[in-house]
């Protein structure tokens, strides 16, 4: 059981000693993150769950970073006199987009199945595992697809320094893919924990991973739009 902290309270007067029983899980805290038996299925996350908060905070930083990159693109376009050469985006990007959106759907299904398993509605892990695997597969398809898109540009003689358009293309897609790989890492963690005999997966972990993953999908649609409009 975790040595966790009571969540934030709103009531001004505190005299209810009963509520001081320890909550389960301080969300990533080191000092006892698992109950004695190890089974986290029955554990209810406290109201203020740092993993969920943390992921929103992290996503806002990532959003800010891409906002900065977008504004850099606009400023750079404004300063370009002769070197702003439009590039034709590789068609495979559309396929990649569909793969990433499909993976988000798959993850959402997986998340519900995992929740069902945790609540005891589902007795076996297998259906959730299938959807998690599918998410992972589609994510990998996206990454490979992005690589193919780079190869396509290279075959046209468009490298990172060739012109600002190709520079921004590689930077936007590269930074995004690094974040997607981070998401795949998170997904692997979820899968390993979900398969563990001791039921080490927390709801908040898969929730946070899925928020991150959906955000990567939305971010990609936004980036594709910007790239399509400006490059």
């Amino acid at each position: 059981m975790a040595t966790t902290l009571p969540p934030p309270q709103v009531e001004p007067q505190v005299d209810d000693e009963e509520d001081l029983r320890p909550h389960n899980g301080n969300g990533g805290g080191i000092r006892g993150t698992a109950p004695a038996g190890g089974d986290l299925r029955a554990v209810k996350d406290p109201r203020g769950e740092p993993t969920r908060t943390g992921i929103w905070v992290g996503l806002s930083a990532i959003a800010m970073m891409f906002a900065a990159l977008t504004s850099a693109l606009y400023v750079r376009e404004g300063s370009a006199n002769t070197d702003w050469h439009h590039i034709v985006l590789p068609r495979i990007l559309l396929f990649n987009t569909l793969a990433l959106i499909a993976s988000s759907v798959a993850l959402e299904v997986a998340r519900r199945r995992v929740a069902g398993f945790m609540r005891g509605q589902d007795s076996s892990r297998s259906s959730a595992t299938v959807w998690l695997n599918l998410t992972m597969l589609l994510g990998l398809v996206f990454v490979v697809g992005q690589y193919l898109a780079w190869l396509k540009l290279r075959s046209q003689g468009l490298y990172l320094p060739t012109n600002p358009n190709s520079s921004f293309f590689y930077v936007f897609t590269g930074v995004h893919v690094i974040h997607v790989l981070g998401g795949l890492g998170g997904l692997t963690r979820v899968m390993v924990k979900f398969r563990s005999a001791a039921h080490l997966l927390r709801r908040s972990t898969i929730d946070a991973t899925s928020y991150y993953w959906h955000f990567m999908g939305m971010l990609w649609v936004y980036l594709l739009f910007v790239l399509w409009m400006k490059l």
Binding site: M1, A2, T3, L5, P6, P7, P8, Q9, V10, P12, Q13, V14, D15, E17, D19, L20, R21, P22, N26, G27, G28, G29, I30, R31, G32, P35, A36, P46, G48, E49, P50, T53, G54, V57, G58, S60, A61, I62, M64, M65, A68, L69, S71, A72, V75, R76, G78, S79, A80, N81, T82, D83, W84, L160, P161, P164, S167, V171, V175
Partner: protein
């Protein structure tokens, strides 16, 4: 306070040396590690400033050992003009990133934020450890620049493009040295983002029972607001550094314009925008000023209330002012660029919110002064440094009024006036906050008191010394003394040399008296008088821990409960004139 310990399964503290002192997950150890790193950086940066000051007034004097560090930059120990710029760059980078960002925010914040809100650690201890060690790697990368063949970069801590972007052609140090700088700051950004994320999640989610947001001490609020600012600011500097590194190593042209000829070499770049770097950098750079100063504002307010033994006129207004400053800090970056060649009309747009920042800053100052008026201030080293902070904050802040106006800035831009301004309001004021925090929290961190006599001596020497250094800078600036020159040989600058000499003597003196502080720190750590449980009779939760330093889980397996606003001073209670946050007693109940 409730005994919840019975239900709790503890994972005990680590026992191995490595996990306990090096790769520790304990926020208190990490806080001390940040503090130690900041100390190392501040002394390195201070020695660099000494070398610069000595070179400015005795340009041909050989500086011992310097010749060994860089044969090309300082042949025989005599600093070349290029090496002067390298020293300046490293001084600025070390001080701004590794001292002013680390000491008041990461060091004290790590140590005391979780304790003040009643948590047993940060929300993500592993991230916390990673933040520190990533910062440490950034520090090592930066310092490595001293030892590469061409030495450290010379483009200033602001690394203005295209100077910072074109590579070796633009001067010694602009090869590998500048790349290392970019890499170091890139890594530092990642560390800061991780740290900010941790602070925010901790503040929002790990507050103990009864610790509502409104009941958080000012200084916890300051760390929280600072982490919000830091999160969004470093998220912009990170991609900016990426683009700068790509311009340098991958041949892209984000910041390098067409037809740029440097050292008779036509640069193979086209179409880039040097102004883009300035926009991205200052979008980070101005909020960075508040990342440095707001934690100090918090520390000082927290300590002053304790020393005055009465609540501030309105400590919540100070919190709102900090929020206001944080919000406005994102709208003013262009005031660093009045003369950069951007549209002159946009100067007005940036000037207006810049002047608006003076409103919350003035409100804060008036609250401090108004609260101090008529109070029985307990004078000690910590409260003296708080008063010193207010003095520096006002003296340095007032010159901001001048610089915020584009028409005046045309004259004062790039003169020593600017140097004086930001050193006082950002550098010295924030450092005074760190000193105040050190004297105040040392008993909690070590269980021993620092020497009060040495502390006061340290304060008076430092206070007078810093004024002697930085006040004349304003005069020099008004007299037209430009900054970044390594020697003053122009006719109109030569008569100013006596002032420079005075500043150099003052700098050597002020730097040397910091040894008093270091001695006090080390001596008191081992031989200092044992501290009582709550030596300052303070109210916040850090003084409710069962021991000093606090045990591994801060409250010894107990979850503290908070019953009061943070500053119950000047009340009647069984403890005296104050009521601790964790005390269930009501004010005035005691017979």
């Amino acid at each position: 306070m409730s005994e919840a310990a019975a239900h709790v399964v503890h994972h005990g503290p680590p026992t191995s040396f490595i996990r306990k002192h090096v790769f520790s997950l304990d926020h208190k150890v990490i806080g001390k590690q940040y503090y130690a790193l900041a100390l190392l950086a501040v002394f390195t940066g201070m020695v660099l400033s000494w070398i610069m000051r000595i070179h400015l007034v005795w340009p041909n004097a050989p500086i011992p050992l310097l010749g060994m560090l860089s044969k090309a930059g300082a042949p025989g120990g005599v600093v070349t003009p290029e090496y002067y710029l390298s020293l300046m760059t490293m001084h600025g980078t070390l001080m701004v990133f590794f001292v002013l960002t680390n000491a008041p925010f990461a060091a004290f914040g790590n140590y005391f934020l979780p304790i003040q809100i009643g948590a047993e650690d940060m929300a993500f201890p592993r991230f916390n450890m990673m933040s520190f060690w990533t910062t440490f790697i950034a520090f090592i990368i930066l310092v490595t620049a001293f030892f590469v063949p061409d030495g450290p970069p010379l483009s200033g801590w602001t690394a203005y493009a295209p100077l910072s972007a074109v590579g070796k052609d633009s001067g010694p140090g602009e090869g590998l040295g500048q790349t290392l700088w970019g890499l170091s700051i890139f890594v530092f950004c990642i560390a800061s983002l991780l740290g900010s994320l941790n602070f925010i999640a901790t503040t929002l989610d790990l507050r103990t029972k009864g610790m509502t947001l409104a009941r958080m001490p000012i200084v916890s609020w300051a760390w929280f607001i600072t982490s919000c600012i830091s999160l969004l600011a470093f998220a912009v500097l990170l991609p900016a550094c990426l683009l700068l590194i790509l311009d340098r190593v991958a041949g892209t042209s984000f910041f390098i314009p067409s037809g740029l000829n440097v050292s008779d070499h036509l640069q193979p770049h086209q179409g880039g925008s040097p102004l883009l770097w300035q926009h991205l950098f200052w979008f980070f750079g101005h909020p960075e000023v508040y990342i440095a100063i707001l934690p100090a504002v918090g520390i000082v307010s927290h300590i002053l209330i304790n020393s005055m033994r009465k609540p501030m006129l309105s400590h919540k207004t100070i919190i709102y002012c900090m929020m206001g400053i944080g919000f406005l800090s994102y709208m003013v970056w262009g005031h660093h660029m009045f003369l950069s060649g951007m549209n002159p009309f946009s100067a007005l747009v940036f000037s207006f919110p810049t002047l608006m920042i003076t409103i919350p800053a003035t409100i804060m100052t008036l609250i401090w002064l108004g609260s101090l008026y008529g109070s029985n201030l307990r004078i000690n080293a910590a409260s003296l440094f708080c008063l010193g902070f207010i003095s520096m904050f006002v003296s340095g802040g007032v010159s901001g009024f001048f610089l915020a106006q584009p028409s005046i800035d045309i004259y004062l831009h790039a003169t020593y006036f600017v140097v004086g301004h930001f050193h006082m309001v950002m550098g010295v004021a924030a450092i005074f906050g760190v000193f105040a925090g050190t004297y105040f929290w040392f008993p909690k961190m070590t269980g021993r008191m620092m020497s009060e006599r040495l502390g006061r001596l340290h304060f008076w020497f430092t206070f007078i010394g810093t004024y002697c250094i930085f006040m004349p800078f304003h005069y020099l600036g008004l007299a037209g003394n430009v900054r970044r020159y390594s020697a003053f040989t122009d006719d109109f600058l030569v008569p100013l040399m006596p002032v420079h000499k005075f500043i150099t003597y003052s700098a050597l003196f002020t730097g040397a008296v910091q040894l008093i502080f270091i001695y006090n720190l080390i001596y008191s750590r081992f031989k200092g008088e044992a501290a009582s449980e709550n030596p300052w009779e303070a109210t916040s939760l850090e003084w409710s821990t069962p021991s000093s330093p606090p045990p591994f889980d801060n409250f010894g397996g107990v979850h503290p409960v908070v019953y009061h606003d943070p500053y119950q001073y000047g009340v009647k209670s069984s403890t005296g004139d104050y009521l601790m946050q964790a005390s269930p007693e009501r004010a005035g109940e005691t017979p």
